[in-house]
């Protein structure tokens, strides 16, 4: 047990070293590709009376209009990073620019340009859906405060009705939010957070606790939002299949970035793609693979790493009749488990 853990630790350290060299290059590359809307530079956060840094020298950039996923196990520092990026927490050191503004010196301007969906729903359950939306609108100074819906300006009423139609809640706009389902609450929060047209929408585990239907419909809605408004979406999630859709992902562990890039880059960097084959005449297959100079592992099936090679040509070269042919293409989850070393 102890040996396994040590082996795993040394494996992860290896990744960390391998990563550190590539990481700075990736940050520079991404920054060059498109104008970043978020730039995080050597961010450090140490909480008061804490002995270690919750966030320890994290750097990444997020290109405008993209979907960015921040992944990591519980306690990795995801919520701390999101809190700093949304100005509710001061960093210990490092620089963070969001939508062109410094999160420490220009916090109010940053808040003007971001929307955030918290882990715990931030709706007032005693109020109706419309009241929750109205309070957001008047809090952000989009419309003057009025004590009732009918007294609000026409533009507001039209905007709300329009958004309610998109969500299919026209008939329930004036019902207390406590009567809404989990999925509807999440949608309402997203609707509300988009009211002030933020450049970046932060979503801190937005689909946790939602059933698969609600999750799917929420993603469809988010996709629509991104297409219509060009909103950058910054996501933290535990559902790794959601991260597959991201334009870039950043995996953190113990406050440090352990992998960063496009999902394909992260997967390629961390998990091997291989071909799994078998034959009735295993001796012949083994000999043939050796003759072809292909590295393999017998488990008892033959695991042949692709190492960037062409599957078709590889199969064509093998003459032994095969009984099993499977390809293994890694998922983000494979990469994640490989890095973090714990199943989720």
């Amino acid at each position: 047990m102890q040996q396994e853990r040590e082996a795993l630790d040394s494996h992860r350290d290896g990744y960390a070293k391998q990563f550190n060299n590539k990481h700075s290059l990736l940050v520079a590359e991404n920054a060059q590709a498109t104008q970043p809307i978020i730039t995080v530079d050597r961010l450090v956060k140490r909480y008061k009376r804490a002995e270690i840094n919750a966030v320890d020298g994290v750097s990444f950039t997020v290109a405008s209009g993209t979907l960015f996923a921040l992944l990591g196990p519980n306690g990795a520092g995801k919520t701390t990073i999101i809190s700093i990026l949304t100005t509710t927490l001061n960093p210990t050191s490092g620089g963070v620019i969001v939508a062109g503004y410094d999160v420490v010196k220009q916090a109010s301007a940053v808040r003007d340009n971001v929307g955030i969906i918290f882990q715990k729903p931030s709706l007032d359950l005693n109020l109706t859906a419309e009241e929750n939306v109205r309070f957001h609108a008047t809090l952000y100074g989009l419309y003057p405060f009025r004590p009732s819906y009918s007294m609000m300006p026409r533009a507001y009423r039209e905007q709300v009705q329009e958004l309610a139609k998109v969500l299919g809640i026209e008939g329930e706009l004036f019902r207390p939010v406590k009567k809404y389902s989990g999925g509807m609450k999440r949608k309402l929060e997203i609707l509300r957070s988009l009211l002030h047209r933020p450049g970046v929408l932060f979503l801190d585990e937005p689909t946790s606790g939602l059933d698969p239907t609600s999750r799917r419909s929420l993603w469809e809605y988010l996709k629509q939002v991104r297409e219509q408004h060009g909103t950058t979406v910054f996501l933290t999630t535990h559902y790794l299949e959601e991260a597959e859709q991201a334009d870039s992902i950043c995996i953190i562990n113990k406050g440090r970035v352990v992998s960063y890039g496009t999902p394909a880059q992260v997967k390629a960097e961390l998990v091997e793609e291989y071909l799994l084959i078998d034959a009735q005449d295993r001796t012949r297959l083994r000999t043939e693979l050796q003759q072809l100079n292909l590295a393999f592992e017998q488990t008892p099936l033959f695991k042949v790493p692709l190492n960037g090679g062409n599957i078709h040509q590889m199969l064509k070269a093998i003459e032994t009749p095969l009984t099993v042919v499977e390809t293994h293409t890694p998922t983000v989850e494979d990469a994640y488990i490989e890095i973090v070393g714990e199943k989720r």
Binding site: I37, T86, F118, L127, F135, H136, R197, G230
Partner: protein, 270 residues
């Protein structure tokens, strides 16, 4: 592509808008919670009806009506304490529901604090009206003139309670800590401020505690107004209205300044 942010309101107009929004939400929440309303009125009813009635019938010699004396004290204490508790609920709100939304909005933290004090003051004033109605039902001689005179005092009591809540808020890290310590800071004030017990003569240590109780000055100011021109004035009140008001303003300013500064700073420096 960064979407252009709608900026229909800017500067002070936006902050006032936000203050009204924060305040209105508190009032609306209160009106939608009948249990809280009932709870808020139970103690005043017990104090005025039972305590005031029994004191009035059994304790004689001070030369004034105990029911009325207790009524004035309880009215101000209700206003003060309701606002204090309301402000402290910001600790809980910080971690829950809609208030996360408030804290992430681009409005100044000072506007959040002012909106909260305003909202909780309005909530307290609604409760104050309930107390007055019960007082009248129990036979307290409460005239229209008294009511008009009490309005500014009631507002002052709420504001002082709000600023007191703010200084407590900035000292507590969690709702749990607040709930544990709060009774020791609020409950004794009922006695040291003389809400229903005369405090003309006190041993030195109680006198000291009484003088550092903010509620004392609000209660005494209310009695300054309520008993003005009445023969028992000198036996009931402790200090003149100007003295009480000056001390209240000074306490309010200090609490508000320190409380807001510490609260705003602690919000982001965790």
């Amino acid at each position: 592509m960064i979407q252009a942010t709608r900026k229909n309101m800017t500067g002070p107009a936006r902050e006032v808008n936000a203050i009204l929004t924060v305040a209105y939400r508190d009032v609306l929440k209160f009106l939608r919670d009948p249990a809280r309303l009932v709870q808020a009125l139970i103690f005043p009813i017990i104090f005025i009806g039972i305590l005031g009635g029994s004191f009035q019938s059994n304790i004689v010699g001070e030369g004034y009506n105990f029911l009325t004396f207790i009524f004035t004290g309880v009215l101000i204490q209700t206003l003060f304490q309701s606002t204090t508790s309301g402000i402290i609920s910001l600790i809980e709100d910080r971690e829950n529901d809609f208030s996360q939304e408030i804290f992430i909005s681009p409005i100044s933290r000072y506007s959040i604090v002012f909106g909260k004090i305003l909202g909780e003051s309005l909530v307290a004033l609604v409760q104050g009206i309930g107390v007055i109605i019960f007082g009248i039902v129990f036979g307290v001689p409460f005239t229209l003139g008294n009511a008009l005179g009490m309005i500014p005092i009631a507002i002052a009591a709420c504001l002082l309670g709000g600023s007191f809540g703010l200084i407590l808020l900035s000292s507590f890290g969690s709702q749990r800590a607040a709930n544990q310590i709060l009774p020791f800071l609020v409950f004794p004030q009922i006695f040291t401020a003389g809400v229903f017990n005369p405090i003309h003569n006190l041993p030195w240590y109680l006198d000291f505690l009484s003088r550092i109780s903010p509620l004392r000055y609000a209660v005494d100011l209310a009695r300054d107004v309520f008993y003005a021109g009445k023969p028992e004035y000198a036996r009931v009140v402790l200090a003149g209205p100007l003295t009480n008001l000056t001390i209240m303003v000074a306490m309010f300013a200090v609490f508000l300044f320190i409380g807001t500064t510490v609260f705003v700073r602690s919000e982001r420096n965790k």
